[in-house]
Symmetry: none
Subunit: 217 residues, 2 copies
């Protein structure tokens, strides 16, 4: 994304304000709305700045037309708003009795599900799993929920991870803490009403990190 060096800070603010306003509302702002955001109390000054921006080629103004603005820039208006969304492959199911599926390089044939971009952030190898069974309830997750996983085999203190317990032959979703004193791992349910469990690190295998949950009622 190129920052336009020919613009003053004020003018960049104004452009950004218009762009955001259009994204949110679907139509351009008024002079007064722009002024309010960027801190200009006079409509004439906003108008003045818009004229400057037009002269520099960053937008079009239609005189005497309320909200008669059109951004010239590369980022075009999307009247759909379906922008802040990422497609994530749905790899299968997560159930208590089975290990997690390993994310395959073969993303082509994978079913893709749309998720809000905030849920993914800049995470890297993200995939979705459908929850089967009610055994994840201590993670506030229910049958049918869609969980977003980040593929990784190690974890940091406090991460919510999917862990395979060798003894129980089960996958569980819990917050993980390394207890230096006892040399045990504490698995803390997300539901604070429930008690944590402690396991030997050798008995546990991290299969991924939970980064989001989507539930349809």
């Amino acid at each position: 994304m190129s920052d336009h060096p020919r613009l003053t800070e004020r003018q960049r603010q104004i452009l950004e304000t218009i762009r955001e306003f259009c994204d949110e509302t679907g139509y351009p702002p008024t002079l007064r709305q722009i002024g309010e955001v960027v801190g200009i109390s006079s409509t004439s000054v906003v108008s003045y700045n818009l004229d400057v921006l037009q002269r520099k080629g960053f937008l079009m103004r239609d005189p005497d037309v309320s909200r008669g603005l059109k951004l010239i820039d590369e980022t075009l208006d999307d009247q759909g708003g379906s922008e802040n969304v990422t497609m994530v492959p749905l790899l299968g199911f997560i159930a208590a009795g089975e290990p997690l599926p390993i994310p395959d390089a073969d993303y082509e044939n994978q079913e893709l599900v749309p998720v809000p971009e905030e849920l993914v952030g800049d995470a890297n190898q993200v995939y979705a799993l459908r929850v089967r069974g009610i055994s994840m309830i201590d993670a506030l997750i229910n049958d049918g929920d869609l969980v977003l996983m980040q593929y990784q085999q190690n974890a940091e203190n406090g991460d919510m991870v999917a862990a395979w317990l060798n003894d129980e032959k089960a996958t569980t979703l819990k917050q993980i803490f390394w207890d230096k004193g006892t040399n045990l791992v504490r698995l803390q349910p997300a539901n604070p009403n429930m008690a944590p469990i402690y396991v030997h690190p050798a008995n546990l295998q991290i299969q991924g990190r939970l980064i989001g949950v989507i539930r349809r009622i």
Copy 2:
């Protein structure tokens, strides 16, 4: 591809006019401009038709805002079918001690959040709330979660609803059942480990129906 069968010819004309105008100018048309194109001489009738279109869910209007129109894209550009996303207004918070915000107010300043269309379906008055506090844990919902609510004051048997309890002065999210025998209402937590509560119908006020949960870890 069939155009929308629920629309009259007039309404389809108007939608098309708005779409073309936006494409050409970058901003929505006025009532008079729409009327001129589709052949309606009175702005009040254009306004009337826009209200109809809004009620049918094809666009958003911001009252008293010139050119305050936004088309709702439900359309044909997606071949995969799994691409679709809907924007819903984020109206505020849901906490145990407060009634829910009423979703009527000015959509002007409302933040919009994208949600997968499967979560919304064809529900009508949908809005999102951020969960504050951990008091909804019996509904498998945690602090910080985003809940999708459908605004309604009645409920059907088995619906997951947000109910205001007069006695407790608290909002709770539970599945609702009408017990014919005792003439009481049973509120069943989503977490089956927890016990239901029974209340008199007079002590309870339904504030909306829960239709989805989104959690960011």
